[in-house]
Amino acid sequence: MRELRYREALREAMFEEMERDDRVFLMGEEVGHYQGAYKVSEGLLDKYGERRVIDTPIAEAGFAGVGIGAAMVGLRPIIEFMTWNFSFVAFDQIISNAAKVHQMSAGEIQVPIVFRGPNGAAKQVASQHSHSAAPFYTHIPGLYVIQPSTPRDAKGLLKSAIRSNNPVVFLEGETLYGVQGEVPDEGVEELIPIGQSRLARTGTDCTIVTWGRPYYTVLAAAEKLAAEGIECEVIDPRTLRPLDTALMVESVKKTNRCVVVHEHWPYGGPGAEIVDRLQREAFDYLDAPLERVTGLDVPMPYALNLEDKVLPTEGRVIDAVKRVSYSK
């Protein structure tokens, strides 16, 4: 294993899949000559040229639709949204076209496409640039939704997404691009299956399900709780649709309590879905109500002191774990 940054892991996945399959191309704003707004696509244009690394005008609905059309007849597009906030003007393309045409055509037309880009709050980019997009897309049958937390998952899941025969919403962490982590060595190919949770930390006292940016908040909180004698087990679903609850249920059977921690708003979404499933699938094993630590139910403010309050904090995670553990 070697250490790579999250953005480098994503970049490697694209290099490898473009090398493997000429049908794969990258399209989006600033992906080519600018080398990527977040430098994820750096170097791709130099290697693969303008035929396969395609800069677009600012026209998300247009180039998302072009990607879907190209996928319908056999190409394998990677469509980069500069951020997922800008995907909302392409919402109809993803919802009404990409997610629907396979069934509308009775299975005759496949849409092997990946929509990817940074998601969630960055730092003080305020109300319109801080959306956590998972709830919008996880609602839709016909889509896969992946939100990797670590460089290794980012690479292995992006490779699987590119090879999938279905439309994939791939939510990268805007604040995670610089995070370093272990990734298999060059030449060792790892395809992480879509729809599999991962055990990130073992523990006996409380299960925490989390993904994306709060994953790191939770791991830090878990260390502090361990110092107080509370051992948390941390599970990262990695894929939010389809959702794999098997590991979570196993864990709750052992710990008898669970906290779900996510950045998106509390109303609905994968956080609420996980809680709903666990209360049914592990009802007899729960010693406390399931709790959630979420982004607060407000548009994201600009001021740093307020933004820090809105996002899940270590303190809120620790409090929630203590509440479900009936500990002070």
């Binding site: 399959d21 191309f25 035929r51 677009t56 005008p57 026209a59 609905a61 247009g62 180039f63 998302a64 639709g65 072009v66 990607g67 879907i68 059309g69 190209a70 996928a71 319908m72 007849v73 056999g74 190409l75 394998r76 003007v89 109809d92 393309q93 009404s96 076209n97 045409v101 396979h102 069934q103 509308m104 055509s105 009775a106 299975g107 005759e108 037309i109 496949q110 849409v111 092997p112 049958p141 016909g142 896969y144 090879r163 999938s164 025969n165 279905n166």
Partner: protein, 309 residues
């Protein structure tokens, strides 16, 4: 053309009987356009249409049985009862759908044209839409990208004068929509759509240009639907006089009169009409007798099977 006309009339009857549900948008009055387009396209070409999609599907060669069974919501329908009137598909014949969101399918057509260019193939995409589509953002973005990348696509605006119930003069500052082509750096054309031979020649020229690498064309075809926007629309927004004037230019009657003028035996034309009637009757019987749409098909087509990529 007779096949489309009779199919649509029979669809309307079966809608009134409650055999067909949902929305039903008829193509009556616009037949010459679909027939002419199908005539100039090759098997390898791609076609997109709005929800008013029966005409082009039949013109492209879909059987009336498959089309009618879809309207009846049966497993033998072209989309196995999952699509309905608005979502006909016939992938084998390059007919890539009936799409229900105004303006939403234009970028898809740019996408299949992108694929042709990316793969060095000489296939062409033809995308139909109504005058009502020309004000929405999806139109602008698809036209922008197709013009920018010189994609082999022909955008065909079937201007039937009404965006549902609102006439063109209340939806556009332009009388001549084809001038929009210039804003996207593409060739524009504009002509009447009731004469199938004229339509064939002019769409043919645009398709040839696209195939030869000359880039996209935006065509405005002036046409008229003889029925309302959909079956629930009595079309009270237009006068009887206007409708009668338009019906005097019925594309189906025009082609019959022209054939008679050329010395074609009237009995031969009547025989074609009879054959069409029989085929439509058979299609209705087939649709009636077919099995309803299947739950297992619904469940198994939400996602495509994985593997083999």
């Amino acid at each position: 053309m007779m096949m489309i006309r009779r199919f649509e009339e029979e669809s309307a009857r079966n809608y009134a009987k409650g055999k067909i549900g949902g929305f039903l948008h008829l193509y009556i009055g616009q037949e010459a356009i679909a027939v002419a387009a199908a005539e100039v396209l090759e098997d390898r070409d791609y076609i997109f249409q709005t929800y008013r999609d029966h005409g082009i599907a039949l013109a492209r060669g879909m059987s009336a049985k498959s089309a009618m069974a879809e309207l009846f919501g049966k497993d033998t329908g072209c989309s196995r009862g999952l699509g309905g009137s608005m979502h006909f598909f016939d992938v084998e014949r390059g007919f890539l759908g009936g799409w229900g969101i105004v303006g939403g399918h234009l970028a898809l057509a740019a996408g299949t044209a992108f694929k042709s260019k990316y793969s060095g193939e000489d296939s062409v995409t033809v995308c139909f839409f109504g005058d009502g589509s020309t004000n929405i953002g999806g139109f602008h973005e698809a036209m922008s990208l197709a013009g920018l990348w010189k994609l082999p696509v022909v955008f065909v605006c079937e201007n039937n004068q009404y965006a549902m119930g609102t006439p063109l003069e209340r939806t556009s500052p332009l009388k001549d929509l084809s001038v929009k082509a210039k804003g996207y750096g593409m060739v524009g054309d504009r002509f009447d759509g009731h004469d199938v031979e004229v339509v064939q020649e002019r769409i043919g020229a645009a398709v040839d240009r696209a195939r030869a690498g000359g880039g996209p064309t935006f065509i405005e075809i002036l046409t008229y639907r003889f029925r309302g926007h959909s079956m629930s629309d009595p079309a009270k927004y237009r006068s009887r006089t206007e409708l009668e004037q338009r019906k005097a230019q019925d594309p189906v009657v025009l082609v019959r009169d022209r054939l008679l003028g050329l010395g074609v035996d009237e009995n031969a034309l009547d025989d074609i009409d009879l054959e069409v009637d029989e085929e439509i009757d058979a299609a209705v019987r087939f649709a009636e007798d077919s099995e309803p749409a299947l739950e297992e098909v619904m469940m198994s087509t939400v996602l495509a099977p994985e593997g083999d990529s």
